[in-house]
């Protein structure tokens, strides 16, 4: 490029006080390629910009340098000005002679010399600039929501209400997630199902939501705006299109004694079942592990009874494909399983609490089912072992959470609140009962939260002991809970009828595999990683994939819902147009010289590099190469650094430009 204009700004006195702007303009005019060098009091002002525009036109400039403030301040301003004057905006460079020169040096001659050097750098760069055009990526204006809990439901409804189609995948037979199993919610004590069920029905009936229940994401292909999703619909053995949900099949099923997943084993269900009465879709599935027909070709009563002819014992898993532009991951959480064998030795549970050994030691989700009006006991609070009404209940918080030895140093955040809620629900059911709580700290940050805990203690008389429980044993049908009250400095021993463990929140099973399919990050605990903890809390590092709810970190319902709406609004921004516009300052690979070692592919933080082949026009294979996916590349340039032959290059910061800059400093 040979016709460069340099515009040196005085910034009032900010620059002119320590940099001799006349001297700068004079010296710069002699740089190779510079045909016009001017200075002006305020280059960013309207007359200043007009001057730039006028010179671009009159001098037919093919590149400009504005020597003024930081590019973070005004690069956009001058790019716009250049564009108005008909110059490609990417042929504009800034020389930062204010923040990095005049403001930090007092000696005029050396500041002036430095300013000239800084402009020299920028002129060297602009001479090697090439015009760039913003990249347009076509967008499939549909979204996938993975997980049908409260976060997934919120996200799906928000996106669908905004006018976009939504595909929802839920691996359980019904949507609703953990919230559908809760009795009442803090801090308002409104019935969980009463507020959730209408939303579930809305999802089920929404004209723009396509629900795949009892299905899982099998594979994810493509990139932002253009994902291809393979969904495995697990064999349900019930034809959903024929079934009316009348219930004849599950009432006739003779195999009624199977532990209900929805009740966390506190209740029983038949072999053909819907998880709970308000299930969406209200269509049963057959548990192939217990159904007599499927195991040994016996029974078959449900098939005979079904008037709609919806039972299909020959059903098989089906894989369907859906195209979407964005993905919201809302896979939620599970509770730390205290008793069962753990994947890591460090997670091995609290044997001293006797969970799994004593029937009356349960976890908090089991408690929710026992106390729920729609639970297995029909709202009568009975303990699992003998059905007696427990008069003394001990709640233990932080079981697993904040325990480094169990590898879960984080706080599960909601347990303090729901434990307070549990004591209240219990007191409201068993008026002469006494709740005892062992806690480490009470963390009740949130609107109305601390007041709620105070209510549990002051109105409903829950006894709080600050301390840990060391052991639980069983004597004469009672659970002897031995712990400490560290505030009183005394040991505490309670004869309890029931013990409830507030165990830690962990990400749902299989989330790591899902994250790998989606190319998104997860932390050491398996919680999915947001792109930036403060400024990009629902984005991930893979373009077009967002996260919401407890899959990201432990959180309560209001937070999960807020995050889901945030993710939905990000999706709406992306789906607002047929094409996404992206900055063109991204990497490109010279496919002729690429040796296909794929070091860049391993390095790229955005998985924006893929394996590709160079073929002739007739499709004859020539060679392998790496290729940049313009839809994913964010332009960090890490690939360029690791490329041994420098076949990768970064537009806007090309090798040629950087070397020209360095060499201008000789």
């Amino acid at each position: 490029m040979s016709k460069i204009g340099v515009f040196t700004c005085w910034c009032g006195e900010n620059i002119a006080r320590t940099v001799d702007v006349d001297e700068v303009a004079k010296r710069v005019a002699g740089f190779p390629g510079v045909v016009c060098s001017l200075n002006y009091k305020y280059m960013c002002s309207d007359p200043g910009q007009a001057m730039v525009r006028e010179k671009i036109a009159s001098e037919k400039l093919d590149g400009i340098v504005v020597a003024s403030c930081s590019p973070h301040m005004h690069l956009k301003t001058f790019r716009k000005a250049a564009q108005t004057a008909g110059l490609n905006p990417y042929l504009v460079e800034m020389a930062n002679i204010r923040e990095q020169c005049s403001w930090v040096h007092h000696d005029k001659p050396s500041a002036t010399a430095k300013a000239i050097d800084i402009i020299r750098l920028s002129v060297a760069k602009v001479r090697n600039d090439v015009p760039l055009r913003p990249i347009q990526v076509p967008v499939t204006r549909r979204a996938l929501v993975i997980g049908g809990g409260v976060a997934g439901i919120q996200a799906a409804l928000d996106i669908a209400d905004a006018g976009h189609e939504v595909v929802m995948v839920e691996r359980e037979p019904s949507i609703g997630g953990k919230m559908a199993g809760l009795s009442e919610t803090f801090p308002t004590l409104d019935c969980s199902q009463c507020i959730l069920t209408p939303r579930m029905v809305e999802v089920g009936q929404h004209p723009r939501i396509k629900l795949y229940s009892y299905s899982e994401v099998e594979a994810v292909d493509g990139f932002v705006g253009n994902f291809k999703i393979k969904i495995r619909q697990k064999a349900r053995y019930v034809d959903v299109s024929k079934c009316t949900g009348c219930g004849d099949c599950w009432s006739v099923c003779p195999l009624k004694k199977n532990p209900s997943e929805f009740d966390y084993g506190m209740g029983m269900r038949p072999a053909i079942y819907i998880p709970f009465p308000q299930a969406v879709p209200a269509r049963p599935v057959i548990d192939k592990k217990v159904c007599a027909k499927l195991i040994r070709n016996g029974c078959g009563l449900c098939e005979k009874k079904c008037k709609a002819g919806a039972i299909d014992f020959k059903d098989e898993d089906r894989v369907v494909e859906e195209s979407v532009g964005c993905i919201v991951v809302a896979t939620g959480y599970k509770l730390y399983n205290i008793a069962k064998e753990q994947p890591k030795a460090s997670l091995a549970g609290y044997g001293e609490y006797g969970y799994g050994k004593y029937k009356d030691v349960i976890d908090s989700l089991q408690f929710e089912r026992l106390i729920s009006a729609s639970g297995p006991t029909g709202g009568v609070f009975k303990r699992p072992s003998d059905g007696a009404i427990p008069k003394n209940v001990v709640f233990i918080s932080c079981v697993g959470s904040r325990d480094n030895a169990k590898g879960m140093p984080y706080c599960s955040k909601i347990c303090c609140m729901y434990t307070a809620k549990h004591t209240m629900l219990y007191k409201h059911k068993v008026h002469d009962g006494q709740a005892h709580v062992f806690y480490m700290d009470i963390r009740a940050g949130g609107k109305g939260y601390d007041e709620f805990v105070r209510r549990a203690i002051e109105q409903d008389g829950a006894r709080y002991y600050r301390g840990r429980v060391s052991k639980i044993t069983q004597e004469n049908g009672k659970l002897i809970v031995r712990g400490a009250d560290t505030l009183a400095g005394t040991p505490v021993e309670i004869e309890a009828d029931l013990v409830v463990l507030a165990s830690a929140m962990r990400p749902a099973d299989g989330v790591e595999e899902l994250a790998q399919k989606l190319n998104i990050g997860y932390d050491e605990f398996g919680f999915l990683m947001e792109s930036h903890p403060k400024l990009r809390p629902v984005e991930t590092n893979t373009g077009g994939v967002f996260i919401a709810g407890a899959c990201q970190a432990p959180k309560d319902i209001p937070e999960a819902v807020a995050q889901a709406s945030a993710a939905a609004s990000k999706v709406q921004v992306m789906l607002a147009a047929d094409e996404l516009t992206r900055e063109p300052e991204i990497a490109a690979i010279n496919e002729q010289t690429c040796a296909a070692c794929y070091t860049c592919l391993h390095t790229c933080p955005y998985h924006a590099i893929e394996r590709a082949e160079v073929r002739t026009g007739r499709g004859v294979f020539i060679k392998n190469t790496a290729r940049v996916n313009a839809g994913l590349c964010m332009g960090c340039g890490t690939c360029v650094s690791v490329c041994p032959s420098k076949s990768a290059d970064l537009q806007g910061f090309s090798e040629q430009q950087i070397y020209a800059m360095v060499e201008s400093l000789v």
Partner: protein
């Protein structure tokens, strides 16, 4: 790192000398930190010239070398603190490369006080001021940078490394030779492979006809690593090859496969059990039996320990003071004629267009001058970081007799010590360049 205080001309007053400092900074943290220093009017010396790049991940060792080539007296590389990278992981990748690159520079005897790495966030205007002020002051004390280029001409006084007396060598044909010929004859006769790459009487034997199998030899002079021929276009054109490898050569196949350079299914590997071929590297070698070969011939007697092991040249090199090492290399590289035999013979050098041949921009000065030779050897060695399997072909091929493998040994050791990585040993191990760990060391980053 070694003690640098012995370096000549250091820590003396250089009156009136104003150093030139080149700073490569990332756009999102350090550049904004420098802006903040301006906004809050924190004064610092005007010696620094800032080159803004998107991310520390983009800051390449070539650029650091280039900085010194254009006459910088010190170079600063600075970016976001760990965890703060705008691109999430660019700084982690960069940190890992710097760990290796510093080891290479140290082996060359480079004065590491002239190259600074820092993390400076957008909020640390104060830190930027401090870093630049201290760096400028320190560089003023050190004086102008002349080591590599200005005075780069060789000094005859420079030390040399011990090479030891020539090892007594007794030629012997090894018993597996017959089996090798027979096996290759069969492979060619039944069409399993189209070409056999083996050892001949005077160098490699590339056979395409079964009746030529008698030309193959297997003796204790079969030193070279034949896998390098697999990358040659003219050999690829012949069809499926069989290649004769020693257990040590086999490692290069592992690396090449990891880098997608060969399809292991389409190569027949004839592994030779080996008891050493009298090279210095054989003294330390523990690989006696090939691990991944399609067929293994011969039996290795226990390791052939040399009665009088050759001197450890690498240890001798690192025992020198840095300035002596620099003088040593300057003298060595003075002989380099840029014939690129080191590149041609290396099984790991397979780029379609070598960066040394690229002319827009010229990253590596093509002239066989001190500048150009250092730039080339730095690039060659660093491209082999955590990839070199230590076959030593570069040293053997060098017509000027420069022991280039010493640089590779330095990087090999660095990869072992810092990342527990041995190139070519574990096919499943994550490559060092291309991955990172949160706990990678950063004691050298300010």
């Amino acid at each position: 790192m070694s003690d640098d205080s012995t370096r000549d001309g250091t820590m003396t007053e250089n009156k009136g000398f104003e150093p030139k400092i080149v700073a490569y900074v990332c756009n999102w943290c350090t550049y904004l930190g420098a802006d903040l220093a301006g906004t809050t009017r924190l004064e610092y010396p005007p010696n620094v010239r800032i080159i803004r790049l998107p991310c520390t991940g983009r800051i390449d060792f070539n650029l650091i070398v280039k900085g010194f080539e254009i006459g910088a007296d010190a170079v600063l590389v600075s970016g976001c603190h760990p965890g703060d990278c705008h691109y999430t992981a660019g700084n982690y990748h960069a940190r890992r490369r710097w760990i290796l690159f510093r080891e290479l520079l140290d082996t060359l005897g480079f004065d590491l006080r002239r190259i600074h790495f820092t993390w400076i966030s957008a909020a640390e205007g104060k830190k930027w001021q401090q870093v630049i002020t201290e760096m400028t002051e320190q560089t003023r004390q050190l004086g102008p940078y002349t080591d590599l280029y200005a005075n780069g001409s060789a000094q005859d006084s420079a030390n040399d490394l011990p090479s030891g007396p020539p090892t007594p060598f007794e030629f012997k044909t090894l018993p597996a030779e017959g089996a090798l010929r027979e096996s290759c004859r069969k492979l060619l006769a039944d069409g399993t492979v189209k070409v056999v790459i083996g050892y001949g009487q005077r160098g490699p034997a590339i056979l395409t006809r079964a009746e030529d199998a008698g030309r193959l030899v297997w003796n204790n002079r079969c030193v070279s690593n034949l896998t390098t021929y697999l990358k040659r276009k003219e050999i690829k054109a012949l069809g499926k090859p069989a290649v004769v490898v020693k257990p040590c050569d086999e490692k290069s196949l592992v690396v090449l496969e990891k880098e997608s350079q060969l399809d292991r299914k389409n190569i027949h590997v004839i592994g030779m059990a080996c008891e050493g071929v009298g090279e210095p590297k054989c003294t330390f070698c523990t690989a006696r039996t090939p691990r991944f070969a399609d067929e293994t011939l011969g039996e290795a007697a226990g390791p052939a320990s040399l009665a009088d092991p050759p001197p450890n040249r690498f240890a001798a090199l690192m025992a020198m003071a840095p300035a002596e090492r620099m003088a040593f290399w300057a003298k060595q590289f003075d002989r380099c004629v840029k014939c690129y035999a080191c590149r041609q013979v290396c099984p790991m050098c397979y780029c379609e267009r070598c960066i040394a041949d690229k002319n827009r921009p010229i990253a590596i000065d093509p002239a066989p001058s001190a500048k150009g030779n250092f730039a080339w050897q730095i690039a060659r060695a660093f491209h082999l970081a955590a990839r070199c399997v230590g076959c030593g072909e570069c040293s053997r091929a060098c017509p000027a007799g420069i022991d280039l493998a010493l640089l590779n040994i330095a990087l090999h050791k660095a990869a072992q010590v810092n990342f527990g990585y041995d190139a070519g040993v574990d096919p499943a191990a994550e490559p060092v360049v291309g991955s990172y760990a949160l706990q990678d060391k950063e004691d050298f980053i300010g």
